[in-house]
């Protein structure tokens, strides 16, 4: 119990900058050590194992040191996480395997059209801070359904919220466990299925003993690793090739150069039949969209905007993000903490387009040593990294016109590979590849941790404690919470090991599910006193139901019907949220006004000062 005490003490909180300062220094020293080891002849494989193994062990250690037997420490980290650190933890919680591994890849292939994700995944925080976070913090809930259940009253509203939360978070978590599996299997050289289970074990090590408190402190550590791992290769490549000392402000010429090269090689969209005939493995793409150019026409503008809207509104409804703001010491701190979160997120997100620009240029520019487009295919096939990635079917060459020269539309790659392969493509030392693998692992693990915890907490607190057994003692509650954590993680890993979705499709769906069922019940719960229990329940069910029905209608793997107004399977939340709003307002106005106690409750949560509405331990 000595450690338990150590971490509970105020001195731990005060010493945080020092502790994480030493940690960062230690990590940088480790990178240098590996660089030295590499030049001394350590193999690439060993370096990969060292990077992933070392960082995962550190997270597990933090998880162990943060173990707790107290309910409020387990659910909300004792509400003492300082703003800046909560910002870092949220950033890690937020930036998933998709952000780290797939985002630059998405921009690489989709260019401007894909960058709606960037706008959407950052703009949502404005909604979080102005509409929700401070009010939910004042409420003093442990989970998001806790707010719904208390504001609207009744077990059914609480139960409906748990359903939406579980569906959205679970869709998301399988993608994360999938990503940990991919990275672990590559770095450790083991089969994917085994990688998934190893990923799961490391995720559980971080969260099981200490709940939210353990997850918070590991997420801060994971943020530090992932941001270093993301920025180092970008700055390195940019400086090595003389593109600019500070790439974010200095890549204008390179972006323009990409435009020239696009014109030179031509942007050709391959016919589906050709792709099939050439035997291109599924999920691999070629570049067919302009990097910085905007496609003309209102429909393209609408597609950009509608995607951004879904991601923004989805952000503001995702429970694993909202619950991070329950851990701050005050309402004021919750607001500031949202700002810091976005600051830390922006460091990575503003870098993603630069990474995409750099890696794309290195492949496309025939005047660079690394360029492969426009060169003889026989020659390209000799390159070591091309060989390595084509062997595992993550990259592919199809000589459509049979001229023996690699054209832009003849080079296929999986989106996720862009980030992971960039260090090799650019000829950076293997230490950087190891670092990137560790960063990707940190990103996927931290998000998975937050998600698994969000689901397990909702089930253990809202279903078990609030509905099934309100008399359960602390020991029993925490036992249930921990068991659920294991069960949910195992379900996620099992589904991930069956490999049914690509990383990104599923991630966008989680946002759509969350916005369909939760956004308006949460926002109107704070901002509209007239919102009633019946309205909220009807809204949640109708929103989630119609959104899901629409997804099945347009989903390419389901009925694959023509989308209505360009609202495809990535954007089905628009349908769900609109239905949810209408149903909720109509039903609310046609049912009895909420009673005085409820109105008083809402008034209370709008005032920052005073005690939280729900007690410290509930």
């Amino acid at each position: 119990m000595a450690k338990e005490k150590f971490i509970n003490q105020g001195s731990f909180i005060q010493n945080l900058p020092k502790i994480y300062g030493i940690y960062t220094g230690g990590f940088l020293a480790f990178i240098l050590m590996m660089a030295v080891a590499e030049s001394a002849g350590m193999t690439a494989k060993t370096i990969g194992i060292m990077f992933v193994g070392f960082t995962v062990c550190i997270y597990a250690l933090i998880g162990y040191l943060s173990r707790t037997v107290q309910v409020d420490a387990y659910y909300v980290a004792g509400r003492q996480v300082p703003t800046v650190f909560n910002g870092m933890a949220t950033a890690a919680d937020w930036m998933s395997g998709a952000s780290f591994v797939a985002m630059a890849g998405g921009i690489y292939f989709g260019g401007y059209t894909y960058m709606a994700f960037l706008v959407g995944w950052t703009g949502g925080y404005v909604l979080v801070s102005s509409l929700l976070a401070p009010y939910l913090r004042k409420f003093g809930c442990y989970t998001v359904p806790d707010f719904i259940g208390t504001r609207y009253g009744g077990n059914f509203a609480r139960f409906a919220a748990v359903c939406v939360l579980s569906l959205a978070s679970f869709t998301y978590v399988t993608a994360q466990i999938n990503a940990t599996g991919t990275i672990a299997s590559r770095a450790l050289g083991i089969p994917f299925e085994l990688g998934v289970w190893i990923g799961l074990c490391s995720i559980l090590l971080c969260s099981m003993l200490g709940g939210m408190r353990a997850v918070t402190w590991t997420q801060v550590a994971q943020y530090i690793v992932l941001i270093i791992a993301y920025l180092v290769p970008i700055f390195w490549m940019s400086n090595k090739n003389g593109f600019g000392i500070f790439p974010h402000l200095m890549l204008a010429d390179e972006v323009a150069r990409l435009g020239e090269l696009e014109a030179q090689f031509g942007l050709v969209k391959n016919a589906a039949a050709d792709i099939k005939a050439a035997g291109v493995p599924g999920g691999l793409k070629s570049i067919s969209l302009p990097h910085a150019g905007v496609l003309s026409g209102g429909m393209h503008a609408w597609k950009f905007i509608s995607l951004a809207i879904c991601m923004m509104v989805g952000t503001a409804s995702l429970p694993h993000i909202l619950m991070r703001y329950f851990t701050t010491p005050s309402v004021k701190a919750a607001r500031k903490s949202v700002a810091w979160s976005l600051f830390f997120i922006a460091l990575l997100y503003t870098s993603a387009p630069m990474l995409a620009t750099l890696s794309k240029l290195q492949l496309m520019d025939p005047t660079l040593a690394t360029g492969i487009i426009g060169k003889p295919i026989a020659e390209v096939m000799q390159i070591e990294w091309v060989n390595a990635w084509t062997n595992v079917k993550q990259a592919f060459i199809a000589d459509f016109n049979g001229d023996g020269i690699l054209q832009l539309n003849e080079w296929f790659m999986r989106g996720d590979v862009v980030v992971l392969s960039t260090p090799e493509v650019a000829g950076l030392p293997y230490v950087i590849s190891g670092l990137v693998a560790a960063g990707g692992m940190a990103a996927a693990m931290s998000t998975a941790d937050g998600l698994v915890l969000a689901i397990a907490n909702a089930l253990s607190h809202d279903i078990y404690f609030k509905i099934i057994d309100p008399k359960a003692d602390v020991r029993k509650r925490l036992l249930v919470a921990r068991s659920l954590l294991v069960v949910i993680g195992a379900c996620g890993a099992y589904i991930a090991s069956m490999r049914i979705t690509s990383i990104l499709g599923a991630v966008a769906w989680a946002f759509d599910f969350a916005m369909s069922g939760l956004f308006f019940p949460l926002v109107l719960g704070v901002w509209w006193k007239r919102a009633t229990r019946e309205g909220a329940i009807a809204g949640m069910l109708a929103g989630l139901g119609s959104g899901t029905a629409y997804l099945i209608y347009v989903g390419p793997k389901f009925m694959a019907q023509t989308p209505w107004l360009g609202i495809d399977h990535l954007r089905f939340g628009i349908i769900g949220a609109v239905v949810c709003l209408i149903v909720m307002v109509v039903v609310s106005l046609n049912t009895d006004e909420p009673d005085r106690a409820t109105k008083k409750l809402v008034d209370e949560c709008r005032v920052p000062s005073g005690k939280t509405i729900l007690g410290k331990q509930h």
């Binding site: 703009g123 905007v294 905007i305 920052p608």
Partner: protein
């Protein structure tokens, strides 16, 4: 109007202003992506720049500004939190 009501009025108008700025930089400007791209900033095509960095930076600044502004409103009506609430 009671103190609480006045506080809420001010809070609401701050929220509205915040969301208007948010709307402009997250949705409105991207209606004109094609036209925007003929202009440039730091040498980048403008629409590309806004989606890659511009809007994101605006959001960060906006949330910090909002948090400070709301703190002032809370202070004005005496709703600032005590340290050990």
């Amino acid at each position: 109007m009671s103190n609480k009501e006045k506080h809420w009025e001010k809070t609401k108008s701050l929220m509205t202003i915040t969301l208007v700025i948010w709307f402009i930089f997250s949705i409105f400007i991207f209606m004109f992506g094609e036209g925007m791209n003929t202009a440039s900033f730091l040498g980048y095509p403008l629409a590309y720049y806004m989606s890659a960095q511009g809007s994101i930076v605006v959001f960060v600044v906006l949330i910090f500004w909002f948090a400070n502004k709301q703190e002032k409103i809370d202070e004005e009506f005496g709703f600032t939190e005590k340290e050990d609430d």
